[in-house]
């Protein structure tokens, strides 16, 4: 049992980290009332920038390369997400449409530039990715240490920390109160003197930043390079985590961890005595079936922020 946990938990953690970051971005955006189908595209942009930057500057930056890479990816994706903000906040575009366009645009730009710059459809592997480490002191704790703190990517713990920071921001600070108000009842927020478009811009840009981190963390911990198939569906899984987690940062984190856990279990299943004889197909679909069962069984109805997806146009109702 201990063995199983020891292999399931660290893998679940690295699988979940990119989803957590991105889902947190989704939470910010949707809490402010801007639906973000474009998470996938924001991750693509993050992965692309993270890899390209890493490849280009690893000679200069050495071991700091991956850290600087995710920061650059964060900044570029944040800037990229402004397109979504402009379309859906200022131009009153349908947010779903704009998000779909973000997805296509990011992939188009990423692969187009890869071909332009590298002359081929995929980059080389980076030689400064993130590596796992044992967390000092904590990893020496008996049992727990080896399960949770050995062979762990620090980015996974940063992701979890970010979830708590996001929770703090959203539920304890004026900024969070305003952001949530804007997503529930923008007109009320407006009459209270809150600048609705500004809040929504900030939220969307935050989602871009977090999506960028998510994508680059994926690329630098798992994929090692960038191509058209680096990010395929992770953004949608992050979106699912947002909804599964009921638009709550900790909920979204929990959902992302659940996905990671289920995926990890489905891979490890064949070496668990109990699951050994289960046909592979059932293990393969298990993560997805479990998600549906969890939703249908005990998570149930999730109420979206009331104004989610509705452009705010002053003076109309």
């Amino acid at each position: 049992m201990l063995d199983i946990l020891q292999s399931v938990i660290p893998t679940a953690l690295f699988y979940s980290a990119p989803l957590i970051f991105t889902a947190l971005g989704g939470v910010f955006s949707e809490r402010s009332g801007v639906v973000n189908i474009g998470l996938e595209g924001l991750m693509v942009m993050g992965a692309f920038v993270g890899i390209v930057f890493n490849l280009t500057f690893s000679d200069v930056l050495g071991v700091w390369t991956p850290w600087v890479s995710i920061i650059v990816a964060m900044v570029v994706s944040a800037i990229f997400s402004i397109i979504h903000a402009v379309a859906s906040v200022s131009f009153h575009a349908s947010q779903v449409v704009s998000g779909v366009a973000i997805n296509m645009l990011a992939l188009g730009i990423g692969v187009y530039l890869t071909k332009q710059w590298y002359g081929k459809g995929q980059t080389d592997m980076v030689n400064q990715p993130f590596y796992t480490t044992n967390i000092p002191i904590l990893s020496d704790i008996p049992i727990i240490g080896s399960i949770f703190f050995e062979g762990i990517y620090i980015t996974s713990y940063i992701a979890i920390a970010f979830a708590f920071i996001a929770w703090f921001l959203l539920y304890r600070t004026p900024f969070g109160l305003r952001l949530r108000a804007v997503g529930e009842h923008p007109m009320a927020a407006d009459t209270n003197g809150i600048n609705v478009p500004r809040m929504r811009y900030i939220a969307v840009i935050l989602s871009g930043a977090l999506g960028g981190i998510g994508g680059s963390v994926f690329a630098l911990t798992i994929a090692s390079n960038f191509s058209h198939s680096t990010i395929v569906g992770q953004g949608f899984m992050a979106l699912a985590a947002v909804i599964f987690g009921k638009w709550h940062p900790l909920g979204a984190m929990g959902a992302a961890l659940f996905f990671g856990f289920a995926q990890s279990l489905s891979v490890i299943g064949s070496s668990i005595p109990l699951l050994e004889n289960v046909p592979q197909i059932f293990l393969l679909i298990a993560p997805y079936v479990l998600t549906i069962l969890a939703l249908a069984g005990f998570i149930g109805r999730a109420e979206a922020p009331k104004a989610n997806g509705v452009p705010y146009i002053k003076g109309s109702r």
Binding site: T173, E184, A188, A189, T191, G193, K314, G315
Partner: protein
């Protein structure tokens, strides 16, 4: 002079319409000033201009004699102008405190919202003006009257000197209205000034010092309430004489149409809201249900119409059991329903007014055949109803959303009455409407009664209950606690009964 607010020659246009055409309003310090006008006259628009939600095309606003430019609500707040909106501007999942401090939150050094301080500040204000609220309650859990107090607290918390109330009483019960009046008086006593929009002339006469009348976007003039009367105000506003006393002949009730026995309804939290209720309505009579909001009226109606399942008891329509039938079955068996919340239930706002006219009948001939809609018939019908019920709309193709509240209501009434149901349930049918529209709707209800229909009227307006009903059932705590004749009662007595006291022996207490 000592005007705190002056709006001079304001003009505000919307695409295709001049909502405010050269209107002037002047508010003195420490007075309550009424704004009066028909639905769609431009009152809300004018106040939204003052509050910075709209920019006027023309005109000037002065605060304490100084010309100001109010481009957004923040500036209005800074100038000491606060507004209690017609549709509450409250964030439902938030608590009372969160709603009040939203946008100007007190913080600790760490940047965290200082809820303790907020609570203390709110308590201070609410004690001072007699606005009792539970600071930790969620908005979705408190009554409409309570929500309104939160709205008032919001403005006071921001240090408002001038308060704008846009139709605050439309959604309140008589008790709540009474309390609100007291609050307004105490506000004025503390040196605040108030602009009050209302369609209820009696309220104007009761609390206001002066009144500005607006008709079709134009300012008609300002009078002191001490020098005018209800009839004069009404004719100024509508442009003709208005008859307040609903003309109504004696009723001649015939066979029983609706019979409710021992009905029990629970809400989603499994609390009994209707408790062993009994009620009978006969053909050719209007039964009014008087009661304070939240005593089970809505649940009673929802149970009759099939929108909620009842736990036990029996509902019969013309001797046919309709208990727990689907809304479709209930409708087909002969019930019409003018719902209390017209935006939520009454209309599909994104459908055209024409499409809304067949909301319950679209699947029947001649509106459709073999599941194919016949738009010609539908539009013909809609045109006819629009004519007959004087629904003011540019065309049958206009989305229902774009109609004024009064016209939306007339459309619903037209639709429901036209189906000629044996029982017509009218819940708050005149809420938020101007006197002209109210007169029209009352006339229609009585006409239906005279055609031999049974009518169940639920209203918080005791005026309305007394004027329109043939029989009044008082509802309290999920039960009918008393039945009285309108000729034999008055508002005071009803008020007491509604509060649950069983004074006045001699009156018939039907239940139990």
């Amino acid at each position: 002079m000592e005007y705190v607010i002056e709006m001079l020659n304001i003009r505000k246009e919307f695409p295709g319409i001049v909502a405010n055409d050269n209107i002037t309003v002047q508010l003195k310090k420490g007075e309550i000033h009424a704004l009066l006008g028909e639905n769609g006259a431009g009152k809300s628009t004018l106040m939204n201009v003052l509050f910075g939600l709209y920019q006027p095309e023309q005109g000037e606003i002065r605060v304490k004699g100084e010309k100001v430019n109010i481009t957004n609500p923040n500036i209005a707040n800074e100038l000491g102008i606060g507004m209690v909106h017609q549709h509450f501007m409250l964030v439902e999942p938030f608590t009372v405190t969160q709603n009040i401090v939203l946008g100007s939150e007190p913080t600790k050094k760490s940047g965290v919202i200082d809820i303790e301080r907020a609570r203390k500040d709110i308590k201070e204000i609410s004690d001072r003006y007699g606005l009792k609220v539970d600071p930790d309650a969620k908005i979705s859990d408190i009554s409409v009257g309570m929500q309104q107090r939160v709205e008032i607290l919001k403005t006071l918390y921001r240090g408002a000197e001038v308060l704008i109330f846009d139709e605050p009483t439309a959604v309140l019960t008589p008790q709540e209205i009474h309390e609100l009046m007291d609050i307004m008086r105490s506000l004025v006593k503390e040196g605040k000034s108030i602009i009050l929009i209302t369609h209820k002339l009696k309220e104007i006469m009761e609390v206001c010092d002066s009144c500005t009348v607006i008709r079709k976007g134009k300012g008609i003039g300002t009078t002191d309430t001490s020098t005018t009367n209800v009839n004069e105000l009404a004719s100024l506003m509508v442009g003709r004489e208005v008859n307040f006393n609903t003309v109504k002949t004696e009723s001649h009730p015939k066979e029983t149409v609706l019979k409710i026995e021992n009905l029990v309804v629970k809400d989603s939290r499994k609390v009994d809201l209707v408790k062993e209720l009994n009620l009978e309505i006969r053909a050719g009579e209007i039964v009014g249900i008087a009661g304070v909001d939240g005593n089970g009226q809505s649940e009673l109606i929802e149970a009759i119409t099939g929108l909620t399942k009842s736990v036990s008891g029996k509902i019969e329509l013309k001797s046919k059991n309709i208990t727990n039938k689907t809304p479709r079955k209930v409708t087909e068996s002969g019930i019409g329903h003018i719902p209390q919340d017209r935006h939520r239930f009454g209309l599909v706002l994104d459908y055209s007014i024409g499409e809304n006219m067949v909301l319950q009948t679209y699947y029947k001939k001649p509106y459709s055949k073999a599941k194919v809609l016949n738009y010609k018939e539908i539009l013909n019908k809609a045109e006819k109803l629009i004519q007959e019920y004087d629904v003011r709309t540019p065309s049958v193709h206009t989305p229902a959303r774009a109609l004024s509240g009064g016209n939306q209501q007339k459309a619903i009434i037209g639709r429901e009455v036209d189906r000629s149901p044996d029982l017509l349930i009218a819940a708050q049918p005149t809420r938020g409407l101007d006197v002209g529209a109210i007169e029209f709707i009352h006339k229609k209800l009585i006409e239906e009664r005279d055609k031999g229909k049974a009518i169940l009227l639920v209203s918080f307006e005791l005026d309305e209950i007394i004027n329109v009903s043939d029989r009044i059932a008082v509802m309290f705590d999920g039960k009918i606690v008393a039945e009285v004749k309108p000729e034999e009662t008055n508002e005071q007595e009803l008020g007491l009964l509604m509060a649950g006291s069983k004074v006045k022996a001699g009156e018939s207490n039907v239940t139990e």
